[in-house]
């Protein structure tokens, strides 16, 4: 699944590690999400979108 996490991260000035801590996952998981190699659970997708204050579909491209 393609995501716009990298773009939003840059906009909010967050590192992968900081984002990982905010959503309670390992940094590697953020790396996999950015590379589109991992389909997150609805909860994780919601948490990521919440950090960036946008809707889930704005971050994750279905």
């Amino acid at each position: 699944m393609k995501t716009r996490i990298k773009e939003f991260r840059a906009r909010f000035g967050l590192t992968q590690d900081e984002l990982a801590k905010k959503v309670g996952v390992r940094r590697e998981t953020i790396v996999f999400l950015e590379q589109g190699k991992y389909n997150p659970s609805l909860e994780l997708a919601h948490n990521v979108a919440k950090v960036f204050k946008v809707k889930i579909e704005d971050v994750f491209i279905f």
Binding site: M1, A20, K21, G24, V25, R26, E28, T29, F32, Q35, G36, K37, Y38, N39, P40, S41, E43, L44
Partner: protein, 188 residues
Amino acid sequence: MEKTDFLEGTMAACIVIGLLFGLMLFDNPILGVLAGAALAIIVRLLLPGKTKKKKAKAIMPLTRGKWAIMAGIAILTIGIFAAIYTPLAQGVKSTIVAIGTAMLAVGALLYWKARKGEVIADERTIKIQNKALAYSWWLTYVFIAAMFWADNMGMAKFTMESFGGLLLFEMIVTYMLVRAWLERKGDE
């Protein structure tokens, strides 16, 4: 009753119970004291301390490390008992001690990482572990079938001991390999 009184009472009870069990099972007071001490350490790790009630959420990630530490202490204690007082084969004794030591080390590492606030496992790693276990189970099934037919057709002869040893090795290796492969591949 104060919580500390309860904790100290429980610890004392553990040492007494351990002593009694040690005497009953091994007929040796030293083993009893060791068993009691191991039991007391396990209970101390399990029971919440004075200030832990407020930090209930923060304690959650430490659980994994704690269990590994407790299991490590228990296995190591059994291994030491076995090494000193039982007529088991040297290989079995050293294997038990090695497993206990490894588990204790892994537990300590996990505990230390959790204390630093690092996330030890998240949904992706748990998913990978579960998938790796499932793949490993099927590979083990194929491996057992192959060994069975190889033995049946006279291509190889396995004793119960070699069969068990090979299986233990195969299960761990396939799990680790599949896990490493899934870590690289992702779930797309």
